[in-house]
């Protein structure tokens, strides 16, 4: 199967794959933005327990977390134009990228919504009371007291979310988007050096994940600098999740990379 293994190809493939890094990152950035907006809109009715909207949010969450992203991609790509045709909107000539970012965005939104809700709820109720007792308005209490603390709590989950999204984008090629994985397949077919292409591809993903995780870890440290951090000795690999007292204190946050990360 294919040509004999030649490690030199890995290095020559790296720059070729990196040409399409922009496309991958565009999908990540676009979907993340869409996802955070969607997540916020979906989280609100659940936090404020608004009837009807809350049920709709629940269905949204259940659907996007209950079906594979691959199926969602096809569903939106083929289905959305037909659905919108019924209300007189013509999407048949919209670029594929539109569907890709929209689908990844809505998918990410479901996880972002849970992240937002859990982080806000994890802030101690006494913090709001102290803010109110000092005469702050609800808006002041939220923006100055709750939000900064919730951000610190959310970062580890956000980190998992972004990296999961990055990995998910490897499926965009199924709709014909020429991002890194798509490019790798083309290179492999062209040269028959499949193993080398995919090693190069994996290395690039690994490097991006690593960088993202480092950056977000730094952000977390900055946002939670007010908390005492117990150094878990020996654990220096980047994936060895730090057990900050902050999170164990603010119990019950899914800081283990499981489902979402495991979902492709």
């Amino acid at each position: 199967m294919g040509a004999p293994f030649d490690i030199g190809y890995i290095f020559s493939f790296l720059p070729k794959l990196l040409e399409t890094l922009g496309v991958t990152l565009l999908i990540v950035a676009g979907s993340l933005l869409t996802g955070l907006v969607a997540g916020f809109l979906v989280a609100l009715p659940r936090m404020y327990k608004i009837p009807v909207l809350r049920t709709l949010s629940g269905i949204y969450l259940s659907f996007f977390r209950g079906t594979p992203i691959l199926i969602q991609l096809f569903l939106f790509y083929y289905g959305l134009p037909e659905m919108l045709k019924l209300v007189g909107l013509d999407l048949t000539r919209a670029p594929v990228m539109f569907f890709v970012i929209l689908t990844y965005g809505l998918h990410t939104g479901a996880y972002a919504a849970e992240m937002i809700r859990a982080s806000v709820e994890a802030v101690d109720r006494g913090q709001v009371e102290a803010a109110y007792a000092a005469g702050m308005t609800p808006y002041q209490a939220f923006s100055r007291i709750v939000l900064p603390q919730a951000l610190g709590i959310a970062v580890p989950v956000f980190s998992n979310l972004v990296i999961a999204l990055l990995k998910d984008t490897s499926l965009a090629f199924t709709l014909g988007v020429m991002e890194m994985t798509g490019k790798a397949q083309t290179l492999g077919t062209l040269t028959q050096h499949f193993i080398e292409t995919y090693i190069a591809l994996a290395l690039i993903y690994l490097a991006i994940s690593f960088t993202l995780e480092r950056l977000l870890l730094a952000a977390e440290h900055r946002l939670t600098r007010h908390e005492i951090r117990e150094r878990s000795g020996g654990a220096t690999w980047f994936n060895l999740k730090r057990r900050s007292t902050y999170r164990s204190l603010l119990h019950n946050l899914p800081d283990v990379d499981t489902g979402k990360g495991g979902r492709i």
Binding site: D124, Q127, E129, A131, A133, A134, G135, R144, I228
Partner: protein, 250 residues
């Protein structure tokens, strides 16, 4: 001056406060005693609307609120005339000791930063934490955190400071330092309503002691009257249960 009239409050079908009226003069220190579940903390939290009273009237200084038709603006006003010291301190976790005291001065009183910092530093020095200005709450002991909490309350220059069991969460050896601070500011003539289990403190510092049980005020009077010559049977029972232990500091 604080004037509570006919305050009632229910949680579901359970009535926690029944038509409570209480008058507190400017400069007076009132200690509220009572067994747990007597409604004393709820009463305190009604005064700054952390609990919404079912009915009644609250007057703080010349500002009056009718609880049956209080608006957002009224509640905000009420809270700006009062301050609270919490059982669990509730210091803003992401702010240093200094920032905790400054926060409301900047956001609520809209003071310039320099002025807010000057006043906050003074207050923290007053509670003996001049050397901890830049420490985050997670780095402070419970006693230190509570002293920051007191400085934070003082900064607002409220008409009254509400103390909700300020020493209950503290390790025994830290209770003294906090009571000392409260005692010192009481001497300055700041109006205070204190819910506490510290009998010694109540005896020494209070101008008046209020005994609550089952959502009503059972009796009130000077510490001498309530502790030495209680009139009501419920008060006597409560005191008998509490005093033999004599585990209060001071």
């Amino acid at each position: 001056m604080i004037e509570l009239s006919q305050i009632s409050k229910s949680f579901g079908r359970h009535q926690v406060l029944q038509n409570i009226s209480l008058h507190v003069n400017t400069g007076e220190v009132v200690v509220i005693l009572g067994p747990s579940g007597s409604g004393k903390t709820t009463l305190l939290r009604c005064i700054n609307y952390l609990e919404k009273p079912g009915s009644g009237k609250i007057a703080v200084g010349d500002f009056q609120v009718d609880c049956s038709r209080a608006r957002r603006g009224d509640i905000l006003q009420l809270r700006r005339k009062t301050a609270m010291v919490f059982q669990q301190y509730n210091l803003f976790r992401h702010k240093t000791a200094l920032e905790n005291v400054m926060e409301a001065l900047l956001v609520v009183k809209k003071l310039p930063v320099v002025e807010a910092r000057r006043r906050s530093t003074e207050l923290l020095e007053k509670v003996g934490l001049g050397n901890k200005l830049d420490a985050y709450p997670s780095r402070l002991s419970g006693g230190q955190q509570q002293r920051v909490g007191i400085a934070r309350a003082l900064a607002l220059e409220p008409e009254v400071i509400l103390f909700d069991e300020p020493t209950s969460a503290l390790d025994p050896e830290l209770v003294g330092e906090v009571l000392e601070v409260i005692r010192a500011i009481a001497k300055e003539g700041i109006t205070m309503i204190v819910v506490t289990h510290e009998m010694g403190f109540a005896r020494d510092v209070a101008n008046r002691v209020v005994f609550m049980d089952g959502g009503v005020i059972v009796e009130e009077g000077t510490p001498d009257e309530v502790f030495q010559r209680p009139r009501e049977e419920r008060t006597k029972q409560f005191l008998r249960r509490i005093t033999p232990e004599a585990n209060y500091v001071i």
